[in-house]
């Protein structure tokens, strides 16, 4: 009789353990920064609309530049503002209040794989919009509601936001002129 109780207790405790594991694993916060997950199911967005979740496209790094610490980990950090002899591709085009700002106003001195807010808080590149929003607060506000910038996906469901830097080069943010697509035929060109 005692044995039966023992085994029952064992089974119970096993069950309890597995259930609690399942519950814990379900409570894991989902990775919002994921291209594949965000735009999947149509017409169910109205139910699970969440303004907290901002699914963005990945930051557009140029090839081989990230992680920065691959090089910077071996260099002594130098906080003095100067003209760099490296990163010419960026220094040549840099045009973002360049009179008053330089690299370390946005990039962190000690951890180059992070951005840095004015408050000193470190920031992942995936959240760079918060850094832009320090100065461009009105744009950030409009971007969050989908009015500034571009969204793709479903008008009543999951959407994908593009980061500020997906459209604006952070080192030279003004839009560059582009070639237009061809104009429509004139009416006399249509007559054969």
């Amino acid at each position: 009789m005692k044995d039966i109780f023992k085994t029952l207790f064992k089974i119970h405790s096993l069950l309890f353990l597995s259930v609690s594991i399942i519950i814990i694993s379900c409570n894991d916060t989902p990775e919002v920064y994921n291209l594949g997950q965000t735009v999947t199911s149509p017409l169910e967005g109205a139910a699970n609309k969440s303004h907290e979740e901002i699914a963005v496209s990945p930051p557009p790094f140029s090839d081989g530049i990230f992680p920065c610490n691959d090089c910077h980990a071996f260099q002594k950090p130098n906080p003095v503002r100067r003209t760099l002899t490296w990163h010419e591709d960026i220094t040549e085009i840099f045009n973002h209040d360049s009179k008053n700002r330089w690299c370390l106003d946005c990039h962190d001195l000690n951890n180059r794989d992070s951005l840095r807010l004015a408050s000193g808080k470190l920031l992942d590149f995936k959240e760079s919009y918060k850094l832009c929003g320090q100065c461009h607060g009105d744009k950030l506000r409009d971007w969050k509601v989908g009015v500034h910038g571009k969204r793709t996906g479903y008008w009543n469901g999951p959407k994908q936001y593009y980061l500020c830097v997906s459209c604006h080069n952070p080192h030279s943010p003004k839009f560059k002129p582009i070639k237009p697509e061809p104009p429509p035929f004139r009416e006399d060109e249509q007559i054969k």
Partner: protein
């Protein structure tokens, strides 16, 4: 008694013969339209069964013609949805990406050319002035100094004049606000084109030509299914896409994010945010067409 000669047999035969001749002559002018399609009723009076049969036949016909598996749906408007559109005039750079994304999505004829979106270049000094606008601008790069751009397409009016003038009721406004055309019912009189103050309707003067490689096989009966010669067509906010919950093709392609789309009845939608918080205008407001297509200044 002498039996009277009965002429009615011959008379009837001759009458029927002439009717048949006229009928077949009319049909021969229609090219690819079959007798069944010719006798088809207005889309809005068809039963579910009739619609399904017609759609099945169309899918077969298009698949054979373009060598791709075609889908045609008749997905109706969803409850509680009224589509609205907003275009940010302060952002548009006149690159015409939208024009060609639209052509591709909606299977417009490439030759003769039909385009639902016309991008008008206007002088900043003159403001919105259709008389001095230019649709054929073609510089090396856009935007050009001193100009702004106003893309115009169907404004999906709440008070559409085009549907009002149609003598056969081949065009109407759907419950979600999209103005559609039943291409099989359209008689090609082009009254609607004369009535539209935005030049948003286009007529197939010739047999539409679309290269088979570029055809979009995902279609809606009232939207982007291939059209025939002699019918009017127009922008439907990409009815196939938006009834599936997606954004219109022009919204998704815009490289500057100037185009916004959503449900006017949803207070949380971006379109409602724009109407509540931005400076908004509609084109030719004085005509009381009450467009669902708004222009705004994002900055």
């Amino acid at each position: 008694m002498k039996k009277p000669v009965n002429y009615s047999g011959r008379r009837k035969f001759l009458k029927n013969l002439s009717l048949f001749a006229v009928g077949s002559l009319a049909l021969s002018g229609c090219g690819q339209v079959t007798m069944k399609e010719f006798l088809q009723k207005n889309f809005r009076t068809l039963s579910k069964k009739e619609k399904d049969d017609i759609i099945k036949a169309l899918e077969k016909k298009y698949t054979a013609k373009y060598g791709k598996e075609f889908h045609v749906t008749d997905e109706p408007a969803a409850d509680g949805v009224e589509f609205g559109y907003a275009l940010d005039l302060s952002r548009c750079i006149g690159c015409r990406r939208c024009v060609y994304a639209c052509v591709k999505e909606n299977n417009q004829s490439r030759d003769p050319q039909i385009q639902y979106i016309q991008v008008l270049q206007m002088e900043k000094e003159k403001g919105i002035d259709f008389a001095h606008s230019d649709v054929h601008y073609n510089p090396e790069l856009v935007p050009e100094e001193g100009y702004f751009y106003v893309p115009v397409q169907c404004q999906q009016c709440r008070n559409p004049q085009c549907t009002e003038v149609c003598p056969v009721k081949a065009t109407w406004q759907e419950p979600d606000g999209v103005v559609v055309v039943d291409y099989n019912w359209c008689i090609g009189c082009r009254y609607c084109m004369a009535a539209c103050p935005y030049g948003a309707r286009h007529f197939n003067w010739g047999e539409p030509y679309i290269p088979a490689a570029e055809i979009n096989p995902e279609t809606h009966y009232l939207g982007n299914r291939p059209r025939m010669k002699g019918v009017v067509e127009k922008c439907t906010f990409c009815i196939k896409r938006v009834r599936d919950g997606k954004y219109p093709a022009c919204v998704e392609i815009c490289p500057v994010g100037a185009r916004k789309f959503g449900n006017l009845l949803d207070p949380e939608s971006e379109i409602r945010y724009i109407l509540a918080n931005k400076r908004v205008l509609v084109l030719k407001q004085e005509l009381n067409t009450q467009p669902r297509f708004y222009y705004f200044f994002g900055v």
